[in-house]
Point group: C2
Chain length 475, copies 2
């Protein structure tokens, strides 16, 4: 612990030295390095803290972000304030470059009160660079999410999905439908002033499942081979796909301009055409391309093909009105090492695609988690209405998933199955971040959803342990 | 080949679809994805073309960039025009955010003629996003250079440098000093109107060596074990360090405000203190930190520690007035897998640090090469003065390195040794890019230096083959 304080101290010295020399760094990348590396440093601290306390890493990183962002707000730390308002500031820059006067653009994008604060920061010494740094952090975090979903896709095999049992299927469907329904009702009742679009998005976020945390608890307790574990893990495979379909439909409706039968049909059609094309043309395209690039060595070939393929599908997904991550996920499901058989027996390849893409994910995803935490504005909770809303969402989220356990057959521990489905983790967070990008979620709603994610992720390990007590230990 | 045309066609369709939908992409990352992936796609094309013709990849990527950038200029492709003026546009945005009126900022950063063109692009539909995309490409390429130098550092061992023979040492020193001297003279004679700072920087760029190309030719000819090969490869190890020291001194002088005895002493002192501290405190710091993070798994630990360490040294290097890449190189020399012995015998580690950082380099470095190519402005050569200057630099660069062969003992093929030192490749390119960042190199000079790099890299393989004919084949 003392040694870690030394590390923190050294970092602070660096920050102070920066503040002293601020204004004229020789290499334009230096401020970006400081910002990105600083965020990653705190992410590692958060992850390390979470591991020490036996908690999932995503929780440590998110909470570290919430602490940083809100301390940054309290003590008016320029960089953190800029990161907190990130997306709005990029909108402001866009407006300014399009010719709008700076003050007017700031008012429009940030609101009058924030605009004054942010403009005074940006016009201070070294302030203009902060926008570039915030933009780099934003870009890195979004790339992180794309690689994360690509890796999730890589681990999802269609064959495995077909083999999932009826119980898992029932649990998975209930686990998406019930939280969606409860979430929608909670949103209607607690926030009647908001549009149906917003309600739909909130409800979709409640339907997400992140199974990583449950899987670890099951393993730690030596119950990874129990019947309950099989049901949960099977349901999780299906849930990733169901959740993404839900997201696709909801965000498609929002992008195309609101809930109308025509828009819904258009969205579903476009999404289906995109996915069908990807799954039919994708493998052919990969075979042809990989056949051509055989002059490259295998690491180059795997990296270039994987990167270009995942980015192409992410971009096309966006083009047809889906989220980029859906394209990335599809790319992961389609791509596998088998395509690279020209370089010899795939079992003897030194590096799998997963090995090669993981380093990108390891660096970039923690930046995403911390950034999302930073953008949680606790000050929005100084309002009873928002507190009610947050609690309502948490209750809807918990009950909806717990009841999904009813999909399991009698005789199994239905509470344990339901509890295993509760954590939202990174999947819910990605949904919330997309809602923010689409300007559907206000600061208050985004913050409430992130808190819901933190709470559901935090309560799962202890509650799961209790519900699993009756389940016999098997190894 | 036909199949590749299909790929190009598909990409063009994508670009056309983008142009059609331009203005309202749902996910703010989508344009960035298109831009970055597009650049990487052309990089892969260039690399593949170079391999097919038996040329080094860096050449294919650079030339692809030169072609793209200048075709983009001829046909007024918005995105390429923005990339071409990248750094100047970022300056403009900074000025605007600091409160300067947009037109005035543009005139100041871009010059009046370019300002009109660029502003009309940025104020067109979807134009504002182009700045963000260009910025992302710029950030990625700069990170690429940092990882590249880190990997070069990883492969440089101090032990190996001590074991290098006297002949190699003589060749290395001559190979930096002679091109520097000739380069300085050429710059003084051909460009008497420029300041001594500029001349120094041009001269330093001429002193760089990139040995990768020579090593491949030697291997292809089965002469990698000849005496000449040993001298060249030994000299290359020392040259990386000598070149970086030269760069440190020259850029330090420029940053601190011009060539004066006091500045030169200050630069050398600061650089020495930084490097000494890094080499003494670095290993201790690594041992303590790695000891603390043993709760993380080995891939996480290696990635986080490597990333944070290289970025910290890069940033500190910048702080003391050195280039970030010098810090990255030092980090590579200091760090090795041996520090991670807590996770078991290092020979049995599944992934080395090199394995984990390479994927980042494989994606990012080609983006750097293409971007540098794009920023070569061939239109600056419609001027006899610039053409003379370019030819003069190429001649100085060639003769300086060829004469370094005189450092080899009699009886060895001195021409072959000198010829092996000629290519500048990525090292020269990095120097030129830093000169551009420091606003030392004009567009014309930067373009002339990149051409010098292309020419020296292009002529080496055939000329080296001729000079090596007399050297007996050994395997």
């Amino acid at each position: 612990m003392a040694k870690f304080l030394v590390a923190v101290l050294l970092f602070s010295i660096a920050a102070a030295a920066y503040a002293a020399g601020k204004g004229q760094p020789a290499d334009p990348i230096a401020p970006v390095i400081l910002g990105v590396t600083g965020i990653l440093f705190f992410a590692v601290l958060g992850r390390f803290g979470a591991r020490t306390l036996g908690q999932p890493s995503v929780l440590g990183e998110l909470l570290m972000g919430v602490i940083l962002g809100n301390l940054g707000y309290l003590f008016a730390v320029d960089f953190l304030l800029v990161l907190r308002e990130g997306p709005a500031i990029f909108d402001m820059v866009d407006l300014t470059l399009s010719g709008a006067p700076l003050e007017q653009a700031a008012d429009e994008a940030l609101g009058h009160k924030n605009a004054l604060i942010i403009l005074s920061i940006l016009q201070g010494p070294g302030g203009a660079e902060l926008t570039q740094v915030a933009h780099a952090v934003d870009v890195f975090s979004r790339y992180g999410v794309i690689f994360l979903l690509f890796l999730v896709g890589l681990e999802t095999s269609i064959k495995e999905m077909r083999e999932v049992g009826v119980e898992s299927l029932r649990v998975a469907v209930l686990g998406v439908v019930l939280p969606f329904a409860f979430g929608f009702m909670a949103a209607r009742l607690l926030m009647p002033e908001l549009s149906v679009n917003v309600d739909l998005f909130v409800a979709a976020t409640l339907g997400a499942t992140s199974i990583g945390i449950t899987a670890r608890v099951l393993k730690d307790l030596g119950k990874a081979r129990s019947h309950e574990a099989h049901i949960i893990l099977g349901a999780a495979v299906i849930d990733d796909v169901l959740g993404l379909i839900m997201l696709a439909i909801v965000s498609g409706i929002i992008i195309s301009g609101g809930f109308e039968p025509f828009n819904a049909i258009k969205t579903v059609t476009l999404a289906s055409v995109f996915l069908l094309t990807a799954f039919i043309a994708g493998p052919r395209f990969l075979r042809v391309t990989i056949n051509v690039v055989d002059r490259l060595d295998i690491v180059e070939a795997k990296m270039f093909i994987s990167f270009l393929f995942v980015m192409a599908l992410a971009w096309f997904a966006n083009l047809v009105g889906l989220a980029t991550i859906i394209g990335a996920f599809a790319a992961g499901v389609i791509l596998h090492d088998g395509y690279f058989h020209q370089w010899g027996d795939i079992k003897e390849h030194q590096f799998t695609i997963r090995d090669l893409i993981s380093p990108l994910e390891v660096i970039l995803v923690p930046i995403f988690f911390v950034l999302m935490g930073i953008q949680v504005k606790l000050e929005t909770f100084f309002n009873w209405h928002v507190i009610f809303m947050g609690c309502g969402l948490i209750i809807a989220a918990m009950i909806g998933k717990l009841l999904s356990g009813l999909g399991a057959a009698r005789g199994t521990s239905r509470w344990a199955v339901g509890m295993g489905m509760v954590p939202r983790g990174e999947v819910g967070l990605i949904f919330a971040s997309i809602g923010k990008s689409l300007h559907v979620l206000s600061d208050a709603l985004f913050s409430a959803l992130v808190l819901m994610i933190i709470v559901t992720t935090l309560v799962t390990p202890p509650l799961l342990k209790i519900t699993l007590k009756k389940v016999p230990r098997q190894n």
